[in-house]
């Protein structure tokens, strides 16, 4: 059975790249979100196996969305995918329980390998 993935990024282009990479390897993109609020709502509705979450998004940023997702499901699997390489933010996110982080721009293999490692835990 294909793993279900939720993509959250405010840039359509970025979601398109992610989608292309993941679908080519048999992942099922069950939903897309362009704001933090949307990401949270779709997570609760769709219960995906994993979320690829951007940090800078309108309405609610990714870190806040991450915290709320964890609050509703402590076992959620989240990978942060962001251009923000600020260490303290990443460390905070790791402390909150994310599985991995990807710094944009990323190579397709990197996304695949991160998502595979996170799902096989």
């Amino acid at each position: 059975m294909a793993f279900k993935v939720l993509l959250a990024d405010d840039l359509y282009f970025m979601r398109m790249v992610q989608k292309e990479v993941l679908e080519s390897k048999g992942f099922q993109i069950v939903g897309e979100a362009s704001t933090g609020t949307e990401a949270l709502a779709k997570y609760q509705e769709l219960r995906p196996d994993i979320v690829i979450l951007d940090i800078t998004m309108p309405e609610m940023n990714g870190l806040e969305a991450m915290k709320r997702i964890f609050a509703s499901d402590p076992d959620a699997k989240i990978i942060i995918c962001s251009a923000i390489g600020q260490q303290s933010l990443i460390v905070d996110a790791i402390n909150s329980g994310i599985k991995d982080f990807i710094v944009k721009p990323f190579k397709p293999e990197r996304l695949l390998s991160a998502i595979n490692k996170a799902l096989t835990e």
Partner: protein
């Protein structure tokens, strides 16, 4: 070629200024390494210094210099990562390289270039001895330095006393001690958070005792390419290895340490002590070059700008005054300018102090995860509440506080909170509570860790410490902080939280100049309160004089300054008390304690200045000649020779050169409470 660099005079000047400082540090650290070859702080520092020199000189076009620094950096990278021995010949080669760097830089400062300098022979020797470079056989270390060599070879770092006790406790619990090495893939940027992912996974399922480099405070990102972790766990190897299954983490190597290796590790203790000392020293060095919030720096610059204006104004006014014209009207102006100067200086000092402060969130933020993971592992339901994350605290305190605070929280979860079953039986909510709070109270930071668990077993503590009935329960529980308490044999079966608290207390009291106390209620929970100074270096104090000498009393210890007269003095035999709001507070004649009894000490004058100071153990009223002024004092440590009775916590020098001793009020009260100064 270096013409591109030489064109830009300003850049070059900045480079030379920095290079000079850098060379000095390089030299200091190399000398340190010659004495103590395995010193990880110095190795890291040299690596960092050569790394900066490499990039800075490349930027200015000094290719030879950059090349040389690069090679030296490589050598230290190997020493760091592969635990290459620093043999004497290698050390000599490193020193020649450093001398050559010195020479090149002084040529550059004379306006010459680095192109005609031959760096090949020095580099060749360096690479051969370090086993680096093309075609050269890896040179075996010629001379092994005992202890340090074995430490470096096995990747063992000396343990701090705290970590040592963790190893012993883990063995008592029947856990195995593991050493794990990992490498962060070259393409991973940044490296620190990636290594942190593994570290975090490990913390979740095991007890991490030590990491190298330090994971709790991020340093130069490049240091995190290779990580060595010492941990204890009762899990099988596969489970621990699974924690390293993180993308871009390569070559995880996990080994179980056998008894021999563990003994070896524990025997490195003495060195550990020395390295802790060095660590605190290098922490101070680091704090001279910490990264600072730009807003805070701007604030400082603005204040400095204002300061120079007022300074100029004052000197102009002074000129006019000395020409003896318009004296009266100018006097007022001088006074106002002088007041402004005073105000700005104070603000500037506070602003500078602000740059040392960080919100305690940097420390607290790791606890939710720790609690969540540990509670799952233990099968306990826990709700964690954190308050006061914004409380600001000195950066150096945060680093030292991390280990003890983690230990306290672990203890709360492990020993304090009961299993769900036991809680149900005791009619308590199944979900246990732990709360961590921080707040500033006056000149202190108060940190509390509270749980609603079973509380300490006072009976067992009494038995263990051999305490009689004359001591109240409230006092008895404090014995968990007594040195050596938890190292006594059968302590691990103490229900409640006794384990390792003596080590925690020592760190808080000695390294942080803080206080720690515990309150416990059988079946109702435990509260541990830590009191810390805001900063370790600046103390707001009252300067007083006594028999012609000056002393200082920390304002945070002062309850009130009073007038002592015959009317409010109570004499009982040889003891004198001050009648403080109906309570008898012992009177202390500072001069007779510090300088020996004097003739006039038998009678009080009409009216004397007294300072009532207060500590947890009690109060004392110190008689002084004069209250001089309140000042922020920069504290320097005091030599034992001058302080054999330990009555002073430090010494400071005022702007006018006067030397002032800072009274250790806690110690003074302790002496008085336990019978007085005779025989001390």
């Amino acid at each position: 070629m270096s013409s591109a660099g030489l064109d830009d005079k300003k850049l070059l000047r900045a480079f030379l200024e920095e290079a000079e400082e850098l060379l000095e540090k390089l030299n200091d650290n190399l000398l340190q390494l010659e004495k103590d070859a395995g010193n990880p702080d110095s190795i890291n520092e040299v690596f960092r210094l050569t790394h900066s020199l490499k990039s800075e000189s490349a930027l200015l076009g000094f290719t030879r210099l950059s090349e040389l620094a690069h090679r030296l950096e490589d050598v230290f990278d190997r020493i760091r990562a592969d635990h290459l021995n620093l043999s004497r010949p290698l050390m000599d080669a490193i020193f020649s390289a450093s001398d050559l760097i010195h020479e090149i830089i002084s040529r550059i400062s004379r306006g010459q270039t680095d192109t005609e300098i031959d760096i090949r022979s020095v580099i060749g020797e360096l690479q051969q001895l370090a086993g680096l470079g093309l075609g050269s056989e890896a040179a075996e270390p010629v001379e092994a330095l005992p202890a340090v060599a074995s430490a470096a070879e096995s990747g063992e770092l000396p343990l701090k006393s705290f970590q040592r006790s963790q190893v012993i406790e883990a063995l008592d619990r029947g856990e195995k001690i593991y050493r794990l090495r990992i490498k962060v893939a070259e393409e991973a940027e940044p490296k620190y958070p990636r290594a942190y992912l593994v570290f975090n996974n490990l913390e979740m399922i095991t007890n991490v005792i030590q990491t190298f480099p330090n994971m709790t405070a991020a340093q130069d990102d490049r240091l995190y390419e290779r990580i060595v972790v010492l941990l204890s766990s009762d899990l099988p190897e596969e489970k621990i290895a699974a924690a390293c299954a993180v993308d871009l983490i390569e070559e995880p190597e996990l080994e179980v340490l056998d008894k021999g290796r563990i003994d070896e590790l524990l025997s490195l203790r003495e060195q550990g002590k020395r390295s802790a000392l060095r660590a605190s020293r290098s922490a101070r060095i680091e704090s001279t070059s910490v990264r600072v919030d730009t807003n805070k720096l701007n604030e400082i610059w603005q204040l400095v700008g204002e300061l120079t204006i007022y300074k100029a104004q004052l000197s102009q006014l002074h000129d006019r005054l000395s020409r003896r014209r318009e004296n009266e009207s100018i006097k007022g102006e001088v006074e106002r300018a002088s007041d402004s100067l005073e105000r700005i200086t104070t603000e500037m000092q506070q602003a500078i102090m602000g740059t040392r402060m960080v919100p305690i969130a940097v420390l607290f933020n790791k606890f939710p995860r720790l609690v969540r993971d540990l509670s799952r592992k233990l099968g306990k339901n826990v709700e964690l509440e954190i308050q006061g994350k914004d409380t600001e605290i000195d950066r150096t305190i945060v680093e030292v506080l991390s280990d003890p605070l983690t230990h306290i929280i672990r203890n709360s979860l492990d020993h304090g909170l009961e299993e769900p079953e036991e809680r149900r039986k005791a009619n308590k909510p199944e979900v246990g509570r732990i709360s961590i709070t921080a707040q500033q109270q006056g000149g202190k930071i108060v940190i509390e860790v509270a749980d609603d668990g079973r509380g300490l077993d006072v009976g067992k503590i009494r038995k263990k410490a051999g305490i009689g009935a004359e001591i109240t329960d409230e006092e008895a529980v404090q014995y968990i902080f007594s040195p050596g308490f938890s190292t006594k044999e059968d302590v691990t079966d103490l229900s409640g939280r006794g384990v390792g608290m003596d080590v925690v207390a020592t760190r808080i009291r000695e390294d942080l100049k803080g206080e720690v106390e515990v309150r416990s209620e059988s079946g109702g929970g435990t509260l541990i309160r830590i009191l810390l100074p805001l900063t370790l270096t600046i103390l707001h104090s009252l300067v007083i004089s006594c028999s012609g000498y000056f002393y200082a009393i920390p304002v945070q210890d002062i309850r009130e300054t009073v007038k002592v007269t015959e009317q409010n003095t109570i004499i009982e035999g040889e003891n004198e008390f001050y009648d403080y709001e109906g309570r008898k507070v012992p009177l202390l004649r500072l001069d007779s304690v510090l300088l020996g009894p004097t003739e006039e000490s038998s009678s009080l004058g009409l009216e004397n200045n007294g300072v009532v100071v207060e500590q947890r153990r009690g109060r004392v009223c110190i008689l002084v000649d004069e209250l001089v002024e309140e000042e922020d004092l920069v504290i320097k440590p005091i030599s034992d020779l001058l302080n054999h009775r330990r009555l002073f916590s430090g010494v400071t020098v005022l702007g006018d050169g006067r030397i002032i001793f800072i009274l250790d009020t806690a110690r003074i009260i302790e002496i008085i409470e336990s019978g007085g100064f005779d025989g001390i």
